[in-house]
Symmetry: C2
DNA sequence: GGACTGCAAACTGTTGACAGTCAGGCTGTA
DNA sequence: TACAGCCTGACTGTCAACAGTTTGCAGTCC
């Protein structure tokens, strides 16, 4: 049932530019350290530099770009320490989210998680990596959403973008053996066992971190040798 | 020892404009719901609208401003739920920080906290409210800093700005009886008792939240009556 | 008197232009 | 050949202007 007169929307050029740049960063088309030439991007998008600059400023505040005076915007490079910090933050957010979810979510919400998990399993079986990653992210995001705390969700989304960027740059295809470990988390959630769920979540995030860090170290050692 | 030739810095107009707007929001000069007229601010700062817009975008990403299409930027209004969400986030950040600090910080770092706490006590005795709030924020920030996680610090800073804004708008002068409760936290930190410190931190944040929420409800009931 | 239309001022979204800065190649010199 | 200085093209930071939209107000009709 479409409302013939539902509100018109126009997406501002700033928003569109932001989404495009974000996408390019997420999929690794723009690599860490790479310079963003305002004029070139504006030209490719068919707009002027103003909106591009504003979009870049948004991403600067998110920490995805850094701006060097009179030299413009660059895609942020991350070092091992920053990846670890990010995962520590993620752990603290997601553990809080899972606790809150157990405390506040209704059964329907928890049931919906089962569906999400099914999608993870299906993607894993089909062996389609990008789909798998998206399914995992969606699963974790749903947990945050069940916390009912909009702030946690927003923060999770920011973190997820950075995680995806890191995975794509490092070429990590399979972050953790998710099917089994997330099944344990799911069980704890269904049982509304807060302590166990928190423990499982901690384990998941740390395992993901360790795996990513291993990739990072491997990559880093070969690069510094080259 | 000043280096005669330390690097020159020029603060971009964007940064300066951002700081000014931020300050105005923090001290409550710009009130929630108020519109930001680009031209007016640009005129007062003696610059053009471009940098003002970029500064506003930065603050939009932080959640302090919201932009409505073709209507410009407005200072965000917060509702009770959002305040509670914010404090829940703050709790989860600061508890993680205090745990990490105990795990990683050296004795010198923990000792420095004692000094910070002294400043809180002094401010409280002198009865200077804004100074007291700043001292408390500084104390909590130091704990985040001791976690060694840059991510947590950045996030704390963002949260602190919003907390200050809320306190100033609601006219909350004395968030918690800080001298005593923070002394307990300090003790637990000195003893490197992670569990106790986490418990005390939780208590502090929740108490602050409850107090702020009470102010909010009082304010809200009188306003809706008026 | 109340609701609706039409108008004018104010403001945003976007653009194009200009001045100043940066980076790299080139030239001349020792 | 090595190096210092110059020069040029490219790019950023900032501004002023224009088109289109919103908002408040005056006028008009029922």
């Amino acid at each position: 049932m479409q409302d013939s007169f539902e509100a018109l929307t126009t997406v501002s050029l700033v928003t569109q530019a932001k989404d495009r740049i974000l996408h390019a960063i997420t999929i690794g088309e723009l690599l860490p350290g790479q310079r963003l030439v305002e004029g070139e991007i504006a030209g490719r998008l068919g707009i002027s530099r103003g909106p591009v600059r504003e979009a870049a400023r948004l991403l600067e505040q998110r920490g995805l770009l850094i701006s060097l005076a009179r030299r413009g915007f660059f895609v942020r490079k991350f070092q091992g320490k920053e990846i670890e910090d990010l995962y520590e933050l993620r752990e603290c957010i997601e553990v809080a989210a899972v606790r809150a979810a157990i405390e506040r979510a209704d059964d329907a919400g928890l049931l919906a998680l089962r569906k999400q998990h099914g999608r993870i399993v299906a993607s894993a079986q089909r062996g389609r990596e990008p789909e798998l990653i998206e399914a995992i992210v969606a699963f974790h995001r749903s947990i945050c959403a069940l916390s009912g705390n909009g702030r946690l969700i927003r923060l999770f989304d920011e973190i997820a973008i950075e995680v995806r960027q890191i995975l794509s740059v490092l070429g990590v295809a399979d972050p953790g053996r998710p099917v089994e470990v997330q099944a344990l988390l799911l069980e704890a959630l269904a049982a509304r066992d807060s302590k166990r769920a928190a423990r499982e979540m901690t384990r998941i995030v740390r395992q993901a971190r360790d795996e990513v860090m291993e990739h990072y170290r491997k990559r880093h050692s070969t690069e510094s040798a080259a």
